[in-house]
Assembly symmetry: C2
Homo-oligomer: 556 residues x 2
């Protein structure tokens, strides 16, 4: 399996090979019908509705489009288009052949997609049902775990299962262990049994053990699912001001070449020798649409929505296709006040579904940045527009540096930071706190001081005093300080960086999300390195060969 | 470095090579003065107050003895016996030469020792001060982080540092990252700077960044430390009924041979072919001492204290010296009512320092079991005495099986479980919940039902209905079910077991402790496998050779 091929995270329903969206008024069916020959790479067939990253890119796109293009949909049924299998999970041959970094990236993206499903349910009232007929194993059951309601046919054979441990000597890769214990609250010794029973658990015991929410006689399964979906949809009517019709997520303007990616408002410039990428975001150039009708009329052209989509794609591109780029440098250029105005138009119309969706999407994109295992640095320079959602990027970074005054011979206005109400709540981190709350865990009074400065242009000296940036430098020191930092960072062990950043970025409370990303992922990464899983005699490599894996039995 | 040598966790001050306990009324000095030639294994010298597991075994012993033998001590100053260095952290040559499992076990034990320091401060009012003069780096700073109050001399050169990332390409191994962000609440971008600055941070900046609590002029450092210790001691007088004098922790009765370990109340039988160890705990045979005076007169002979000490040593022995033993089977034999009575005597005298210390020690031993990366199973058989603290072991296990009725031809009384108030609070898990609360996260009503059964003899059928055991079997099925489970477990990948158990055992809330053990440890384990750290060209292997490490720059 070769990974030289670039992975593209952009798709649309007309191009799907593995999923169908079938909407019927307030209910949608999301039908998984994986094309065996449609793997992202050569060397494996996607049998039994097993999936690879390409399948999940379509699912992520479908979940996103259901929110923006079909706000009338209030319940989504995930079902299989195959007769005898719901979903067999991640494709094992793909996993066995993939590089460590691809496996880890794949798991991260699929986790983010499952979280997006839960976010749609929790925050957009688009509720999800898993209609399970046939085998539902591994990643298949983890997909079901991301829904609100798991319905299992009682046909005497259909099971739910997490067979990764007994079959493959790895952990379920998409939050399965955490959702079993923390979302479904399965008793821990039963979870232990469940996770070591290769064949899974069916019928009554699956229900009694809280592994599914409902078992339905096979003869009436489809009607049962339909009735439940209709009921859940009716319980969640779309409210707030209209228009209540969807908007189209048109294709992004994008050109990719060897040195970077250029979108309409986001530019990615890659410095391979320096092992870093610079992402520059251009602020809005037009006035903000200020009413539901006007926001709706803008649709995907809305600056906030468009910037989020482009930034999201840029981050995913770097994660998947640029593995030796260790540092991402964020810059912005534009009018900070106008950025604040565009965000304010959405916050002021927060009861309008589309405004809410755009803000929720920003929340997810910012979390995608938090979870990106590259060193993140913001350079707050003259002419930049780090306000509201863009200031949030500064607070997401491992470090930020801000220039005092101007560069010689450069008449762009001195750098400023501009706080908005958006920096105090609407974009929580995976730990459930705002980035400023997280930043000021030890100095809650500093949070209140910052809140008092909402709307003001904060210059470098002030930002330093307020604790909003790591360092402020004058133009004499700036170039050297930035250069030394970037060079130093590029020479550290990338593994140590990944581990250190994963720990330092998320102080304070833990949530199911931080547990999945920080704790479960770390164990998984560890196991994905172990010869017992990935060695020539390991379980992942030997799966399907008829040979048993040979284990080094040393406990660690 | 050979690891064939058995590691012994028993020591006493007369045998210390690296530490001295100097008590002076309510203040003790714990002086670290590591003997360079006193390493646990050959192949490295413990220069600059660097440490290996042997050094930490002495520290753990000292912390324990201060609680039991010196309850009059109310403030403990950790200081260095060397002139120019506080502590240089874990010995790097030792780490570079150690097996993966030894490194992981070493970090786990040192973490437990740091937690024991924090437990002594929080629950026994024995407060700790780190008096830092000279370099305080890596594990040295992590030791300081475990204290209540870090005092740094302002001599222009003494620093605190976590140089692991830049110097060795690994993470600080003993909770450093988590304590920096979550205990000391250092701002995350400053934590990022601190953890990448090899030379550390000194003086005023260390104070401003919350890395230390106090900087003291070098000329008055010792007086300053003495005054602070006297003040902290005076603020924490020993209260409650007497006697207020310490008891002696006499040497354990213990014989070790190839097939196991025999203590006075605990027996460890090793089945190497089955890759399992059976730990049997004998219940008390004498009446419980019921008054402070009587408990004090028993001293280390108190059944609860003695059983905790023996169990603790048995677990540590298996962890360190029996790496291929994948499963620990817990059994008990004795009178359950008498176990409950012995525990009740301590709970009823909870304001007496020694009763409290014994219960707190049980809490720590039970946590040691929770954190042991071996499959844990309890077999609740006729004649067993799983009551109170021993029932807690059943709830700590990954699985428990209980026999219905008696074995044919065996007249021991049928198995029973006996709940006590001890099962509902005094022994919280690392997640802060009792084991039953954790078990019944999804069924809080079951917790209340169980609480209503305190003091009753609960037989297997009832225990099954109440959810207190995983499975109840009759004597026809028992043997096969137990055998099949143990055989199956022994054949799973030990890595997958470790990862699965670490996730399933700790649902619900997270604490600094679970973060350190589950999240930080997992990242560390991952990095300890990576060629960038441990490969021939990795940073850990090349440290001190003059050659730079060669890194694979792929980000994961």
């Amino acid at each position: 399996m070769t990974e030289a091929k670039k992975i593209d995270f952009q798709t649309d329903p007309a191009r799907y090979r593995h999923w169908r969206i079938e909407t019927d008024g307030p209910v949608a069916n999301l039908v998984m019908d994986v094309d065996e020959a449609g793997g992202l790479f050569d060397g494996y067939e996607l049998k039994l509705n097993s999936y690879d990253l390409g399948v999940d890119i379509e699912l992520a796109d479908a979940v996103q489009r259901l929110r923006f293009e079909h706000p009338e949909v209030r319940a989504v049924v995930i079902r299989s288009g195959k007769d005898r299998v719901f979903c067999a999970g991640a494709n094992i041959r793909m996993l066995a052949g993939a590089s460590h970094s691809h496996k880890v990236n794949f798991c991260k993206f699929t986790n983010e997609t499952r979280n997006a499903i839960e976010d749609a349910s929790e925050n957009s009232g688009q509720r999800y049902i898993a209609a399970v007929k046939g085998a539902c194993a591994g990643g298949g059951y983890e997909l079901a775990l991301a829904t609100d309601h798991i319905m299992l046919t009682d046909d005497g054979s259909s099971t739910v299962a997490l067979p990764e441990v007994p079959l493959l000597a790895v952990l379920p890769g998409t939050g399965g262990l955490t959702r079993v214990t923390d979302k479904r609250k399965v008793r821990r010794d039963r979870a232990d049994v469940f996770c070591t029973v290769e064949e899974g658990i069916k019928g009554r015991r699956a229900l009694d053990w809280r592994l599914v929410d409902e078992i339905v006689p096979n003869a009436t399964f489809d009607e049962g699912v339909g009735a439940r979906a209709a009921e859940m949809a009716a319980a969640n009517p779309l409210s707030g001001p209209g228009p209540h019709t969807g908007i189209e997520l048109a294709s992004l303007e994008r050109s990719i070449d060897a040195d970077g990616v250029r979108y309409s408002t986001v530019t990615v410039a890659i410095d391979r020798d320096g092992r870093r990428a610079e992402i520059t975001i251009a602020g809005p150039t037009v006035e903000a649409a200020a009413t539901p009708e006007a926001i709706h009329a803008e649709g995907a052209a809305n600056w906030m929505l468009n910037a989020a989509r482009e930034l999201d794609d840029a981050i995913l591109h770097l994660r998947a296709n640029e593995n030796e780029i260790g540092t991402i440098v964020f810059k912005a250029q534009g009018d900070p006040e106008r950025v604040a105005t565009h965000e304010a138009a959405l916050l002021d119309n927060g009861d309008f579904w589309l405004a809410r969706e755009i803000l929720l999407y920003w929340k997810r994109v910012l979390k995608r940045i938090d979870m990106t295992s590259r060193s993140l640095v913001a350079l707050v320079e003259p002419g930049s527009c780090f306000a509201g959602p863009l200031a949030e990027i500064v607070f997401a970074c491992d470090r930020s540096m801000m220039l005092e005054g101007q560069f010689e011979g450069d008449n762009r206005p001195p750098a400023e930071l501009r706080l908005t109400p958006g920096n105090f709540g609407p974009y929580p981190m995976p730990n459930g706190l705002s980035r400023l709350e997280t930043r000021f865990l030890g100095e809650p009074e500093a949070l209140e001081v910052a809140r008092g400065r909402i709307g003001e242009a904060i210059d470098a000296e002030e930002a330093d005093v307020l604790g909003l940036v790591t360092f402020a430098y004058d133009d004499i020191d700036w170039e050297d300080e930035v250069r030394i930092f970037l060079e130093e960072r590029a020479n550290f062990s990338p593994d140590a960086m990944t581990g250190m950043e994963a720990n330092l970025r998320f102080p304070g409370p833990e949530t199911m999300e931080t547990k999945i990303f920080a704790r479960l992922t770390a164990w998984q990464n560890w196991i994905f390195q172990r010869p017992n899983a990935v060695g020539e005699e390991g379980a992942l490599k030997r799966y399907g060969t008829g040979q048993r894996a040979a284990f080094d039995m040393t406990r660690v």
